[in-house]
């Protein structure tokens, strides 16, 4: 059973963390509300990847369930905010 090498895990985690910080900067800076929602939409997808990378670092399979639950609920949240912008909900 081969694991992912440690150096690849480190470099990937640094890239994904830099992506999360950039998206959070857009979420802080964004001039209107819709910009912040777009930043949230990109942010949740990147954070799912970070959760799976942390699961690979820690080596526990139950961390993947957190990623599945977060994927479902963030989708519901983003669609709810979009409906609220459009005028429904």
């Amino acid at each position: 059973m081969d694991k992912l090498p440690q150096i690849i895990l480190q470099i990937s985690t640094y890239f994904v963390s830099a992506g999360i910080i950039l998206t959070a900067l857009r979420l802080i800076k964004g001039p209107t509300m819709a910009d912040r929602v777009v930043a949230l939409d990109a942010f949740t997808v990147i954070s799912i990847s970070l959760i799976v990378l942390i699961a690979c670092i820690a080596g526990r399979v139950i961390f993947l369930d957190v990623g599945v639950v977060y994927a479902i609920l963030s989708f519901i949240g983003v669609v709810a905010v979009a409906r609220h912008i459009e005028g429904g909900l």
């Binding site: 895990l9 480190q10 985690t13 963390s17 999360i20 910080i21 959070a24 979420l27 802080i28 964004g30 209107t32 509300m33 912040r36 929602v37 949230l40 942010f43 949740t44 954070s47 970070l50 959760i51 942390i54 670092i57 820690a58 526990r60 139950i62 961390f63 369930d65 957190v66 639950v69 977060y70 479902i72 609920l73 963030s74 519901i76 949240g77 709810a80 905010v81 609220h84 912008i85 909900l89």
Partner: protein, 85 residues
């Protein structure tokens, strides 16, 4: 160990900054979004601290349920405020 400490410090600083954004932003829906982001950072911190069940509960309540309830409350209250004006 060093890698996890680095992620921990980075996520903690970003969590504090986004909670400050949630306090000082003008728009209420943007504030709700910032609260959801704070909840996501807290979920990642719980994951690094080896507590997956707490992280799952935090993600479910913070991302899904509280966003929906806040948006529903905003819709309801905005209607009555416009009637009063």
């Amino acid at each position: 160990m060093e890698l996890q400490q680095g992620i921990f410090i980075l996520m903690g600083v970003a969590m504090i900054v986004s909670s400050i954004v949630a306090m000082y932003v003008k728009d209420l829906v943007s504030s709700v979004i910032a609260v959801g982001v704070v909840s996501l950072f807290a979920s990642i911190l719980y994951l690094i601290l080896q507590a997956p069940d707490v992280a799952m509960t935090e993600a479910a309540i913070g991302a899904g349920l509280s966003t929906l309830i806040f948006l529903y409350a905003l819709k309801r209250t905005r209607d009555t405020e416009e009637e009063n004006d």
